[in-house]
Subunit: 458 residues, 2 copies
């Protein structure tokens, strides 16, 4: 077998990169759990018809068939299966399927791989990990969850700062503000306006104005007003006043706009208190997906805005419905692979070592291996990660074995004396060269050496 | 959308089942890391030609295509892709692809989902989680790893006993013993003999004897000798003596047999010391796969032998080869989904609650929600998982909200006095009804209530 080459769009990390990814996942999970979100996992596959309900992403779906499936056989009862392209569609199905066993409002996090058959680019993969939180209600869901959920993400992403992850900025908008304003202006094709505004960062305001005229039926003055709204941003409640002033000036005030402004104002005010500087109201945030009905969120890594959003989501009034009950929700999703790939490729963070092992127990002779095994077991029983040397090579070679893996300590088992009484063990810090007597029943490495850590690089 | 129904073979757990699964995974991961195994993940897909190298499983592979793939377009450069059906094939590819960046012997664990398009049965799924450990060498790999790896699994599975998981028995054999004995008898189609012996538990000794005569070219006497060997089992080195005696009697002693017996004896002796009662030499263990060349392992959950093996593996001399270097290895794989599904379906273990939340902070009025949020933040900052009540309902309803989720504590924020000074908070253990004054800056629940635990049921 020749040396295989990587598959574009299917990222894999070397062990030290995986330490970073695992650390990020551990921090996210812990934060979500501290906020009372229950972890679930859903299967990787969904019936194809469910995956295609939102037409937009249909081209990206991977469809499965069994290799030796009889093409003439009746299709499986469940129909054709595809790999999920996000965690929202499967979660909606899970909620409907298990509604009788869940307590609402249901808070869940879900950290899994998803697949999209897109053209791979920097930060855009065909297989990647998402970390989602959602709260879903049965029938109704109070607005305060739209304030809470981005603050949970602020907490989670903020907790990564200790690892050397740059700060984030969560940009928020409210669909009611946008829709209320557009309708107040007299523009009723709200989706067309949102699609145009969504392109602002890519094509610039002039091109968007042209688009709004061409595709949303706007006059040049209406298009200009939409662009004025999109230019409003700020991290305190003054943004609300500025939008009101704008709406008054254009005669675009509506009840829906006012409802949206009260919500956006509450979010910005709470955020200024609980996560100062992290949340910014940004009225140009549109989010392509048409199922959002209230708050929408995007998140940039400060200094890495080119990467695009690393955490997005919003409020949707109909996550799912079984006819009798409708389930509204609000949620955000972190693009973990996108974030981790940038952390690694830009050299922002590094793992202190690529193996869990803190101590390599040296082997003096193959006959004495069981004594090294016993030392390792004693250390492990007290929570110290240990491995035993692969062979009774010269100590210099055993130390190099540890050094190549970043293992900080090498343990030397003392020679038994002539009466068979155990000798004095020694442990060597191979970074400093310091070697001291040690007892496996009591010795512990310093806290910062016990497990691999992730730290800011450079 | 009508209520969806589960897909046969694609297990999913309710939140309390997921607590159990996550706990099992956490214990396995911690044990593997304490033994110095580095965690890696590989992509879910491999080129189809790689998946089909071991012909036996080819019928089980799920093949991928993009929904809107142009059937006339040139195939993707990487060729057709399929979902991996185990973690060994991807690991072999990962080792070859990254050999220049890995330090050998390379110890890795890998916990991921795999997919097989098989007919679903009890304990046999189409999507399931495996937890694998392997040590792989470059060029050579000493025998002592064949002793170490099943003992790591004994440690990992033993650590689950605290959760209420029944004890396990790891059955070991050595291919060299089997092959050496068969060849000593004059049977050269070793694979055919192994295939026959592998069916022993299913069809019984008479049918296997017939098979050996019909398919392995054995005389009835040779077949009887093979069955005599397969009947040998025991947990100390006396099994070695019994096999030697058997070989002498049948004139079947060979160098290969003796080499295998020395290895098997070393394994049984070490296991008797380090994991008493867990490992049993069982000479009928054949393992279907023809790439094993030394030790082979299977594991049964005591009292649940009908479930089949929950942890299998062995030594293989050629995990992978790039022409210049061959990579021998030894590894075992736990069928986590098989194990967890039995734990849940047989009611062997249960989670103490289905949500991480230890404390529900009650809300007195929506205007006062920010005070409840502040209490929650103070508790979380000290590592207590908390959520805030969804609405300012009557306290009785808020307590029921906690009770339905198994949240043990409800926190009541004290009313501020007329001067705005904060009132005295109270925390109620809703199981006992006991309510005491508490300060969010200092109060902590008892250790056993802090996080959900997994305990023996009943």
């Amino acid at each position: 077998m020749a040396r295989p080459t990587p598959l574009s769009g299917f990222p894999e990390w070397l062990p030290d990169g995986r330490v970073v990814e695992q650390h990020v996942l551990d921090v996210l999970r812990r934060t979500f759990e501290l906020h009372g979100f229950a972890g679930i996992e859903t299967r990787a596959v969904e019936p194809l018809d469910q995956l295609l309900r939102k037409g937009e992403t249909s081209k990206e779906v991977y469809v499965l068939r069994r290799l030796h499936e009889d093409p003439d056989a009746a299709p499986e009862r469940s129909g054709q299966l595809g790999l999920h392209f996000d965690l929202t569609v499967p979660f909606a199905r899970y909620v409907l399927e298990n509604a009788g066993h869940l307590a609402f409002p249901f808070r869940r996090y879900q950290i899994q791989k998803v697949w999209r058959g897109e053209r791979p680019q920097d930060g855009r993969f065909r297989e990647f990990v998402q970390a989602d939180i959602d709260v879903v209600g049965a029938g109704a869901l109070p607005y305060h969850y739209e304030v809470e959920l981005p603050l949970v993400m602020a907490d989670a992403l903020g907790a990564l700062a200790d690892l050397g992850v740059p700060p984030v900025r969560i940009l928020v908008n409210n669909r009611k503000v946008a829709e209320g304003f557009y309708r107040g202006l007299g523009l009723d094709d709200v989706e067309a306006v949102l699609r145009g505004i969504d392109k602002l960062d890519k094509v610039g305001p002039e091109a968007v104005a042209d688009l709004l005229v061409a595709e949303a039926g706007a006059t040049p003055a209406q298009a200009a007003a939409c662009l004025e709204l999109a230019a409003v941003h700020g991290s305190d409640a003054s943004v609300v006043d500025r939008v009101r002033e704008l709406a008054d000036r254009h005669g675009a005030s509506t009840e829906l706009l006012e409802e949206g402004l009260l919500e956006l104002g509450a979010l910005v005010t709470a955020a200024a208190e609980r996560a100062p500087g992290v949340l910014v109201a940004d009225l140009k945030i549109a989010r392509g997906l048409d199922y959002y009905t209230g708050s929408v969120y995007e998140t940039v890594l400060v200094g890495h805005e080119d990467l695009g959003s690393i955490c997005s989501g919003g409020r949707y009034d109909t996550l799912a419905s079984d006819g009798a009950t409708t389930y509204p929700g609000v949620g955000l999703s972190i693009g973990v692979s996108r974030l981790v790939s940038r952390l690694l490729s830009a050299g922002l963070v590094r793992a202190t070592r690529s193996v869990p092992t803190a101590v390599l127990v040296a082997v003096t002779s193959e006959e004495g291996r069981s004594r090294s095994d016993a030392v390792a077991a004693a250390l492990r029983a007290r929570g110290v990660p240990v491995e035993v040397a692969p062979s009774a090579a010269k100590f210099g070679k055993q130390i190099r074995h540890a050094d190549r893996r970043g293992i900080p300590y090498v343990w030397f088992v003392g020679d038994a004396d002539q009466d068979g009484a155990p000798g004095q063990d020694q442990v060597k810090d191979i970074r400093s060269g310091e070697q001291v007597p040690a007892d496996p029943a009591t010795w512990t490495p310093p806290e910062q050496d016990l497990w691999p850590r992730v730290v800011a690089a450079g």
